[in-house]
Structures are given as structure tokens and as C-alpha cells.
Point group: C2
Chain length 280, copies 2
Amino acid sequence: MNSTLAIGFLHPGAMGSELGACCVADRRLWVDAGRSAETADRAATAGLESVGSLAELLSAVEVVVSICPPAAAVDVARDVAAIGFDGIYVDANAISPERTRSIGVLFERFVDGSVVGPPPTAPGLTRLYLSGPVELTSTVASCWDGSNLDVRAIGTRPGEASALKMAYAGWTKGSAALLLAVAALAESEGVMDSLRAEWDLSQPALGARLERTATGVAPKAWRFAGEMEEIAATLGAVALPEGFHLGAAELYERLAAFKNTSPSEDEVFARLRDRLKDTE
Amino acid sequence: MNSTLAIGFLHPGAMGSELGACCVADRRLWVDAGRSAETADRAATAGLESVGSLAELLSAVEVVVSICPPAAAVDVARDVAAIGFDGIYVDANAISPERTRSIGVLFERFVDGSVVGPPPTAPGLTRLYLSGPVELTSTVASCWDGSNLDVRAIGTRPGEASALKMAYAGWTKGSAALLLAVAALAESEGVMDSLRAEWDLSQPALGARLERTATGVAPKAWRFAGEMEEIAATLGAVALPEGFHLGAAELYERLAAFKNTSPSEDEVFARLRDRLKDTE
């Protein structure tokens, strides 16, 4: 089932290292120069082979997958294009279709990708959506044949996979931010107990969802703000309102201090309330 | 169980006429001058007694309930205050705590109110939340003793009932708008089928919710925009993001043309897509 290709990951974090771990390509490389010890540990656990420079990686692989924070996607692509790469470049980041296409023009062989779901540590959890020319998407898909990652080509135009991710995360992460915002409002106005009582009557799932959201989202919020800005831009490009996700970006930025910690629900709201005090 | 009070409703629409219909006050009045035939029919069905002028109503009642579109709440209150009223004035509108308090200062005896749920055509559907001095809220509550309407005093400060409504509707109507926005995005980008397929895997309730939302919200959207602006102002007043609900207001304004019609899901999205064409 293994693919005889070599593939490179730029730059594997929590998601990228798991994409690498379940990839069936013959060689799976990453560039360790300038990365943290934590990242190196994760890449090693995933079985990725480290190389010392981007040029070395590019000369060894047929496929590059860019999987990084949204704000870094363009810089990563430019670094690769500056060195020159005639393999398949896959941008798998949570960026707007427009930004995706602006990256696509840097490469002769380009595939748009987007990941929906958590890191693929088990089958059925995670999809990698692709859009681009069929001969390219089928090569990329072959790198995960029979693995935990469900790869789905949904179209031939770069931008489609990104648009799907923007719409999907526009709801999931956008509604999570909205729920935190209305709860922070109720806390600020001293009506949270009444709101919970009303939810128990008419929105029975929402109290539990709030607790899951506050504790689940806070450690990851630091990397959500950039994605929310990409979603806002995606909506704006087709004359739909940008406000939802600009609001969400603002809210997630406030929670960035919880990066990789495990705050309680009360601590999340205390942070939002501290912020209120700061601005008064 | 009947209350011996007389109560006036300004100005009963779909919600106000049902609040009137289940009210147990001895007399239930409204002002028919300048109102539509449809409104008059609804008030008559509710058993409300029509009077010819606001002054006549104010001289006859001990309690006035303002229940009107959010944008009209201040004008209604000013009209009453200009004539002079020494009974209990209840603002039951979906307006910000700040606007509520600005209305409250016009009256010696003021109660903040807010309605959560559909018109109270059966028991258990609808709450009227109140905040204000206990002797006032208990008098107001007595007007619905044993009725379909569940009246709950949640505090003594005007603004609390309004804040609860803003937080509650901030989620319900805010998330409905967000869902329509991401679906309109997916339609515009040609990835709606892929989005529905992903929802079927990872967000199984969302496809059905979208259909309910599009068809259920469109006929009422014309009166949601003002409420969304009130919610945005409420969040802004405590330094939380206003963008979610400014976006929602924009979206609902686009659907205002469906007032009291029954569009299909496709027609709702066609309307949003026509709008896209308009702005290109």
C-alpha cells in the first residue's frame, strides 16, 4: 500500500506531525533548522526524517505539504518558490480561496488542500480535502492510501478545498466564539444564572456546550485569530458580512494567553472580565 | 385568579396581542388609531378593548406594557411620558440595557421586561422576564397569574431583564444568521454539496438546522435587524466584540423582502445570491 514517493512537511505542528505519522509515502521529511525542541520531539515521534535545510528537502521530495499557521502560509510558499520546486506543492492551510490562488500561481503544479477534523490519530476522524488537476490530486491522495486520513478530491479548481474549510470552520469556530461572547456578556451583566435557567428550558444542550467550548477552545485560541481573519476575508470577497469573524478574531486574541494551558470555565471568563477592566 | 387592574398594550403585534390574550387583568386596552386592519383584527381576536387615543388609554390603566419593534421603543416611551403617566410602565422590548435605562428615567414607576419564546399560545412556551422594584414586578406578574405566560422577576435593577434577552437572542438569532452566512458562502463558492457531506459526518444536526433556519427565519428577518443592532451595542458597552451582530443585522436586512411570505430554502439563497450580483 506504500507510495514510492518522498514527501516533505512544512512545518509540522500538532496537525502536521500527525498527517506525517499516518502518511504512507516512502520517505517523509521535515526541516528541523530553527524549530523548537518540542516540534522536533513531535516530528521524531511521528517518524519524520529531519533534514537541515529547505533546499535539501526540496531536492529530495516529489510532494511538499505546507501545514502551518494561516499567517505563515504565504511566507512558506515564497521561500519554496524562491529556491525553486518542480514537484507538487500542496497548501493545506486554513486560508481564503483568494490567498490560496495567490499561492497557486507561484507553482507549476499546485493542489489546494484543507483539513477538517482533529489530528488523524484514529480512522474516521479527519478529512484532507483537495482541489486541483486530477492527476495531481490523485498523486497526493495516494500518499495516504489506507491510512487514518480520509483524502477527498472535491473539484479541479484551486480554491474549492479552501472555500469548504472556510465555510466549515466559519460555523464551528465562529459559533464557538459567539457562544463565549454571549456568555461573557451575561457574566458581565450579572444574569448568567438566569441565562442558564432559560437555556435549561429552551436550549437544553447549550450549557454543556458552553463548558466544553470554554475549556476546549481556550488552549487553542492563540492560533484561531488568523483563521477567523481569513474567513472574514472569504465572506467579504463574495459580498457577505465580515463582522461575525472579525468579532471572533477579536475574542480569540483575548484568550491567546491560555496557549497550551488548561484553564477552567471560570478562568476563561475571568480573563475576559479582566480584559474588560483593562479597557475601562 | 383575575387581576382587578386595567392594563394597556402599546402596540400589539404578533407577540403583543398574544401577551394580551392570555393576560388576566380586568381590562385590557389598546389604541387603534393609526394601526392597520390586520392589527385591529388580531387585537379583537385577543379580546383587547380598543380606545381612540393614547391619552384615553393612559387615563384608564394602572399598567402600560410597551411591546413593539426595538427601533420604536424610545418613541413610544416619549409619547407616554409627554402625556404624563403615573402608573407602572413596562418596557418589554428587545433593547439594550442602556436604552432600557434611558427609558426608565422617564417614569417614576418603571419595570424592565423581556420576552423569551414564541407568542404564548400554550403553557410552557414563553417567559416574560422582569427586573425592577419588587412591589412593581409583583403587580405586573399578577396580570398573568395562572396564564400561559410564565412571568419571572430576575432582579431589582432595570437593565437585567434586557441584558438576559440580549444574551439569549445574541446566541439564537446570532447563530441563525451565522449559519445562513456560511451556507451562502458555500453556495457562492460552489462547495455546498461537499459542505453538506462533511456536516453529515461531523455535524449531523446542522443540515436539518439550516433548512429550518432558512425557511423559518426569512419571514421574520425584517424585524430582526434592529434587535441585532441592540445586541451589538450591548456587547460594545462592556467591551466585547460588536461584529457578530452587526454582521447578523446586515444579513437579516437582506432577507427583509421576505416579510410574511413563505420562501423555500432555495429562494432564500437565491435572494442572497441576487444581492451578490447587485453589488458586483
